[in-house]
Symmetry: C2
Subunit: 458 residues, 2 copies
């Protein structure tokens, strides 16, 4: 709540994108100055968790840990960032100088990406000198929140259409470039087959899929010429968009075109429908393709899809082989944010707890234990203090120690396999899209007792 | 709808953020290959517009044009991007080589940022050789969609709380880093006073605001010590967070602390409340501060705010001077996406139109004319062909010609001033948050006739 007291200088219009340390809230830096001046250098433990699941979610899927690790491993103030801080008129020079050698030297424990989790369960803990642990709050939350938001939404799509090919089509309406890239990754992690976003394919090694746009058909004027030109350019892979003018007429044109192209060794892989009643069109188009001998041409559909619409189409046994799922998935449209927090749970060995109305937190360093029945299905979790052993499998594991990665970098393929197994082990009520009794998460007596003790002391 | 047919190679986990040309959908590149092989080099005109406003919006505010200009001005394939395309097994070498000297050489017309607009009105037109105009579709949409989405949501907050200080607090739950930066910019454009995101301050020259976090209080254990330490570190600017334990008790502590600090020249600027019934707490806290002589200490509030809650608090004459508005604003939570499109309207001088069910578009290059009454309030718009002069002020103006900027780079301060004027000229029904008769947008007879002609020809 400060007025601007520095010269705004040059105003660049572009977004120079970087994983920079100034991608933080101002208050992290003002608090750091105070910690510095008070010589508060003690070790702090912060945990990231979701306070409450959105009413539209039965479970969440952890994602974004890999990006957090990259961010922490590279944490530093570049010379131009220090110069900007020194010049902005808000910080003392001696404090800004002290930032020059700040690095992340702490410990990180986390649930591996792809792990299913529930409200109040920490998915990541940072234990570090308080300056480091505090500074990273904003970006750590930004990465874990969005990764988890999308992986959780995409997992619901996968459960709703388990045997169909699902492809992320969401770049154009994702909230910026990073959202497009991270949602391609998170949806692949959750079980999507790939993405249409080329850069996500390049950066994460995710399979890239694509068809054609209406503009291609329109630029040709003649639909048949457009189909033929596209097929010649992609002789093994052409998926033709057939709804620019009249879907069924276009399907008939594909049937007429196919034999001619086949003689030249060009195969039409399939068609895409992007408007109207997708189920109804797909049935008619399937009949047209089959009658024309194109039994192996697949039908791909897109347009306003999400898990609810996928479930309907699947329930009607619609002959659609694959779906492009975009906007509603990567904006998580029915629940576009999670009520998540990154909270101080311990400082200098003393447990801490926030008691703000409606936002109370569990103190101390915690672990989550999960129990399974004999069929391997989850039966319930226990939220416990780390040294308060409980039955079940502990879910948080070491990721960084003293600022260094423990073992290998979190691997996307492994996370995807984990998500697949985790979804298979979800209890039946959590697998559906509607209301369900909440998954049981117990809190140990020792943790409850600690919370009472902390309350009594403040 | 292609299977992956290239080696995935090394899988990096981090997001190397860049305004790269591969931030595009795969189909843009497959279409480019077909255009290339068919020697289709004609000039295409594409327009970006919103098909239908979300039911929760009465108007939209154009934003993101500055980012589009930066992107287009820098459009090129870097050597590593070409190498990746050549190696991915999907494109012919000769086509990939042809991309090496691709640059944006076209024209751009747009509504200046900060302009209010409505459904079906193009806010940006690109006229360029079809390869260029097609390739940029995904990223142009990505930038205009999100900028406009947030500016429109933020404008509603500004209208709901016109005399209060509004600050973007949304980095942590924005959808990735770029969303955080672009939403800081878009909300400032729409009338917010500034942002908490430091990097947005640095990149865009936006005023940066900040208070303190609960962790700071908790790390101290003793609330008074925390307040005192923070005030010493920010002797002119300290805003103390008072809801960690008991809001009114903390306000009393601030009153007791203030005189002692004042003797040392340290002034407490204000307090922040982040939980509970903000209006009720603010009234009690105001009374406590006033009784303690702290009449000039301001009250700042945050937590689950949006235009609906702001309107309630303002209607109750709540003594809150400023608001931190985060998650719900920069995810546009009640309408997290717009039904926008970037459509081919003309190729080689011939008007084009998509007729897909529920997604039909108006053909040809278009202009939007706006009429005002004598008081300067908008009375209605007309959607017309560019050479079909209509009464009113034309809203789209030249931005780029032959790939070069016309005039100065779009300026954020000017856009903010424009948005202020535009909001002041909105008709009364569009200023509210509830239902309203739609703003009148007429379509000229010439445009209707052209659409019928195009339909008859396909």
């Amino acid at each position: 709540m400060h007025p601007p007291d520095y010269d705004v200088g040059i105003i660049p219009t572009g977004v120079a994108m970087a994983n920079g340390v100034l991608l933080t809230d101002l208050y992290e830096l003002t608090m750091l100055q105070a910690y510095h001046e008070q010589q508060m250098t003690g070790v702090a433990a912060f945990e990231f968790f979701v306070r409450k699941l959105p009413p539209q979610r039965r479970f969440l899927v952890a994602a974004g840990v890999a990006q957090v690790v990259d961010y922490l491993a590279d944490l530093h103030f570049a010379a131009d960032e220090l110069a900007w801080l020194a010049a902005c008129g808000r910080f003392r020079r001696e404090f800004v100088d002290s930032l020059a050698n700040l690095r992340f030297t702490g410990d990180v424990d986390a649930m591996p990406e792809g792990t299913v989790f529930f409200a109040d369960e920490p998915i990541l803990r940072i234990v570090a000198p308080i300056r480091e642990a505090q500074l990273v709050e904003s970006r750590v939350m930004n990465l874990l929140h969005y990764g988890t938001l999308v992986a959780s939404k995409a997992a619901r799509c996968v459960l709703a259409a388990p045997d169909r090919l699902l492809v992320d089509f969401g770049l154009r309406r994702a909230h910026g470039a990073e959202a497009a890239l991270l949602s391609a990754r998170a949806s692949y992690l959750a079980g999507f087959a790939g993405t249409a976003t080329v850069e996500a394919g390049r950066q994460f090694g995710i399979p890239v899929f694509g068809t054609m746009a209406h503009a291609f058909v329109q630029a040709h004027g003649d639909e048949v010429a457009a189909f033929e030109h596209f097929a010649r350019a992609q002789p093994d892979n052409a998926v033709l968009l057939i709804d620019t003018y009249d879907t069924e007429r276009a399907a008939q044109r594909v049937v007429e075109l196919a034999p001619r192209l086949r003689r030249e060794g060009i195969r039409i892989r399939g068609v895409r429908i992007d408007s109207g009643d997708l189920g109804e069109h797909a049935r008619r188009v399937r009949a047209i393709l089959d009658a024309g001998g194109l039994h192996d041409a697949t039908i791909f559909a897109s347009g306003d899809l999400d898990e609810y619409r996928l479930r309907e189409l699947v329930a009607q046994a619609t002959p659609i082989d694959g779906f492009g799922v975009g906007t509603r998935m990567n904006t998580s449209a029915d629940a576009p944010y999670l009520d998540c927090a990154y909270k101080l749970e311990e400082y200098e060995g003393r447990p801490r707890r926030k008691r703000s109305e409606g936002k109370a937190t569990w103190p101390g360093r915690k672990q989550v234990y999960r129990c399974y029945d004999t069929a391997g299905v989850c039966t319930g979790d226990t939220l416990a203090l780390v040294d308060d052993a409980s039955p079940g499998v502990p879910l948080l594991a070491p990721v960084m120690r003293d600022g260094r990665l423990v073992g290998a970098t979190p691997d996307l393929a492994a996370a995807r396999e984990r998500a697949r197994c985790e979804l298979a082990r979800l209890p039946e009520p959590q697998r559906g899209l509607g209301d369900a009794p909440p998954y049981p998460v117990a809190v140990t007596p020792a943790l409850r007792a600690l919370a009472a003790t902390v309350d009594a002391a403040t």
